[in-house]
Each structure stands twice: as C-alpha cells, then as structure tokens.
C-alpha cells in the first residue's frame, strides 16, 4: 500500500488544479465520518483552507435501512458554516458502490443548496453501482472478493487491507 503522505500530496496538487480550472473560491471541506473527516482535515491543512471542517454522519440517509435497520452508532452531523450558495469539498476515505456519496449529497441538500460540490476520495475501489465519480482520487486499488480496506487514524493515517471472515 502506498504512503499516505504521498497520496495526500498528490490529491492536494490535483485539487489546486481543479480549483484553479473551475475558478472555485473559498472551498468549504466536509468529511464523511469517520475516515473521510480525517482525510478532509489533512487536505484542508495542505490547501490552507480557512473554513473549519464539516462532519457528516450519513446514518439517517442510508439506502439500506429497510434491509439492515438503523446503524447502532450515530453521532450528530456538524456543519460549522452556511452551505447555501457555498462551494463544498466533499471527502471520503474510500469510494466503491457510490451509495455513501449519494446519501451524503442528499443530506447536504437538506442544509441548503450548495453552489457546487467537488468530490475527493483517498482510495477508489471501482465496482461502482451508481453513476458517481470523484473529481480527485488518491489511488485506485483492486481488492479480492474477501478483502476490504480500512483507514486507521486519526493520529497517523494508515491504510490496511483486511480479510473479511466468512459469514
């Protein structure tokens, strides 16, 4: 697995390019709990963004509620800025099906209508089930059928591939 610092540096460069090309001013970072928040904080620091980092908990917006019920751990979302008319930087640690991002965007719109949303993901695992693509990606990885990837933190960020035990 590649060094996280290098991945974050690359994402920062790509984001700067994206910001300049689109003419985005004062981007407000929003991380998806938990790993996405850590990545968002790292990117915020590197980009020298003034705005505090928002934190989204998408539990109430998941599309699998009717199949698996309410997730046992939920904590309040926290957006320390007005989203109405704002350019947002939405960040997650891992993107796969795209369902988490869909849920996160649904939640964001309940706070107001953002001017734009830029999506950044540290790891893209492919296997998309929805037409959602990040604007900036740290790395693309392919996992075996019984593997999953996990971001550990928040002190020093580390990506680890875990074997999923048989159900």
């Amino acid at each position: 697995m590649q060094d996280i610092e290098q991945l974050l540096d690359r994402m920062t460069d790509d984001l700067r390019e994206h910001i300049n090309a689109r003419g985005l001013s004062s981007l407000c970072p929003v991380g998806i709990r938990t790993g996405g928040v850590w990545v968002a904080q790292a990117l915020r620091e590197r980009l020298g963004i003034q705005a505090e980092c928002g934190e989204l908990d998408i539990t109430f917006y998941r599309d699998d509620f009717s199949r698996i019920g309410l997730h046992p751990r939920v904590s309040p979302s926290r957006l320390p800025f007005e989203t109405e008319g704002q350019h947002l930087l939405l960040v997650d640690d891992v993107i796969m099906s795209g369902r988490t991002i869909r849920a996160a965007m649904n939640e964001l719109f309940d706070y107001g209508r953002p001017e734009s949303i830029t999506l950044a993901a540290l790891v893209d695992l492919g296997r998309r089930e929805l037409p959602i693509q990040p604007d900036v990606t740290g790395t693309h990885e392919t996992l075996g059928p019984r593997q999953r990837i996990k971001l550990r933190g928040p002190e020093s960020l580390e990506l680890a591939v875990e074997e999923v035990p048989d159900a």
Partner: protein
C-alpha cells in the same frame, strides 16, 4: 402484564422492534436511544428538518385516550422521518360502533400500516397488541393506564443528560401524584437503569403506590427533607381525571405542602433542574415564577420529545424490518 417485556420488545439480535416499556431494557440500549436522539436534535435545527428513514412507511397514531401534546409530537416525529401519518381518535369512531380492539387493529394492518403509536387507558394494552394481535407491526407505547409512558421518561432522561452530562452521582426527586402516574413509573425505572445515585418520591401517602420502595425509590412526605441535596426535581401533574374518591383535602392544601415555590426550590442544590411532563397546573403543582424561571427546562423537554420519539420510531422500525427480512430468508449485506 407479560413477564417477557424484554423478549417482546427486542429482536433475536437484541435490537428494538417494539417500544413498550422501560422495564426489560438495559443501560446500553437506553443509552443508544439517547445517543440516537441527540443526532435527531441536530436534524431539527436544519433548514429542512426531515430525514428519509421512514419514507413510504405508514404510522398510525391510535389514541384511545385524548392527548394533544403527546400526539402532536409523535405526529411531528413521524413526519420528520418522512412517514405517512394517520391520526385516529378511537374513542370517537370504530369502538363506538361496537368493533373490538383486535378487529380495529387488524383492519388497520390490512391498510399496510407499519407502526402503531398507541395510547390506551388499560395497562398492558400495547403489550397485548404486540404479542397477540399484530406482532409484525411495530408498536410504540404512548402511555398505557397506570403502567408506563416510556417515551416521556426517555425525553426526561435526555433533558437530564444534556444539562448534567452524566447520571452517576445524581439525586432526583419526583414530586406529587406518583400513584396515578405512568410517567413516574417509567422515570423511576429509567433513572435506576441509567445509574443515578438516588431516586426520591415526595408525596402524601394517599398519592403513593402501595409499596413505593419496591420501585427502587426512597420516600419522603415533606418537601423540606426530600428536596435537600437534590440535583433534579421532576414535578408531576395532579391527575384530576384519574382520581377516585377524596385523596386530597384540596388543591390549595396540596399546593401549600407540595407545590414547587421559590422558597421550596431553595432546599435543593443550587442550579437544580426543574422539570414537568406537562400540561402544567400553575398554582397547583408549581409556582409560575419557578415554571418560567432560570432553573426550569420544561420547554426544552418538549423539543427533546420530538427527537426521542424519532429515535425510538426509527430504531423499532429498523428492528421490525430486519425481522421481516429474516422471516423471508433474504440475505443481508451492504457497504
């Protein structure tokens, strides 16, 4: 009352599927309800105060006893979860035409209802429905007879936790008509389960149940003693409509002995919280200056009521759907 409150309320995995009583629920589950409610409070502060959890689900408010506040907060909670809500005051409809409770409920289930929020004057009515009539519809107890009113107790717990941060070390006094109060029964159970230091009941003997100590509370007859070193004071409403016979000399006598005035409030710890489940009888249980004073959190209780009801409704619906899922044998997985 069935002895299997816990089994009836929980799925095989220990998830909530009905919310009938505090009895039988452990500290971890009560804490999870409070944590979930905390997140719903944040939803209530957004521009759009709605989440899609119960979208496409039908919630029926079945009130066999009148209630304005409880019913409206349940209705608002269900709507904020995006459910379709049907309000039925049964006292005025089907049962007056001779239809039995079971038939009414089976008819409602046939309309594809997913959840019944039920208030009934008979203790144990929601248990009966959950056990024997419509076990596949999530039942939320909105108050049954003199038995329990668990959502009211949980919104009180949420209010206490917001202000006191923790339950350990707290002394809580419940004052007034404990005998007729289902709220008090749920509160005593919840406070003890969440681990407060001491629950006190302050009331005349005529307004106490037969064995008050068996509920897990210390009994006082005088406010001067009972309020000493107390951190939270919960006033109960005098339940005129439930009083049979003369249990009290008069309202003014009750106010003189047990009404929470500024003078009596001074016996409690400085900054002690003043709570009341509402509706308030000013000048009967509580002085206006106290009800509207700086230590009163009575209006915060109402706001918390919506969040707590959203929490138990979404948790019970989740458990119920989960159960239906395993009954049909479909697989469960997602990322």
């Amino acid at each position: 009352m069935p002895e299997t409150s816990r089994d009836l309320q929980l799925t095989a995995d220990g998830e909530l599927r009905h919310f009938l009583a505090i009895e039988g629920l452990d500290q971890a589950l009560l804490t999870r309800i409070l944590d979930t409610a905390d997140s719903f409070i944040e939803v209530g502060e957004r521009t759009i105060k709605k989440v899609p959890l119960l979208r496409g689900r039908t919630v029926v408010n079945l009130f066999f006893e009148p209630s304005t506040r409880t019913r409206s907060t349940f209705e608002l909670a269900a709507k904020r979860l995006s459910a379709d809500v049907l309000n039925l005051d049964i006292g005025t409809s089907a049962t007056s035409k001779g239809e039995s409770l079971s038939d009414t409920l089976l008819n409602l289930r046939a309309m594809a209802s997913d959840m019944f929020v039920m208030r009934h004057s008979q203790s144990g009515a929601p248990h009966f429905v959950a056990q024997s009539v419509t076990p596949d519809v999530a039942i939320i107890n909105a108050g049954d007879g003199r038995h329990e009113h668990p959502t009211q107790a949980m919104l009180d717990m949420l209010t206490i936790r917001q202000h006191m941060k923790t339950f350990s070390g707290l002394r809580v006094a419940i004052v007034g008509d404990v005998q007729h109060s289902r709220v008090a029964r749920s509160q005593i159970r919840a406070l003890n389960t969440l681990g407060v230091d001491e629950v006190r009941l302050i009331a005349p003997d005529t307004l106490l149940p037969h064995e008050p100590e068996a509920l897990g509370a210390r009994v006082f007859h005088r406010m001067e003693e009972g309020l000493r070193n107390v951190d939270v004071i919960i006033m109960l409403r005098l339940q005129h409509e439930r009083m049979e016979g003369a249990l009290l000399p008069s309202e003014s006598e009750f106010y003189r002995m047990y009404g929470l005035t500024r003078e009596k409030l001074a016996y409690a710890n400085p900054g002690a919280l003043v709570m009341h489940p509402g509706p308030i009888n000013r000048g009967v249980e509580i002085e206006s200056a106290v009800a509207d004073g700086p230590q009163s959190v009575i209006l915060g209780q109402v706001t918390n009521g919506i969040a707590v009801r959203m929490a138990v409704m979404s948790m019970s619906m989740g458990g119920q759907l989960n159960e239906r899922q395993s009954a049909t044998g479909e697989g469960v997985a997602s990322t």
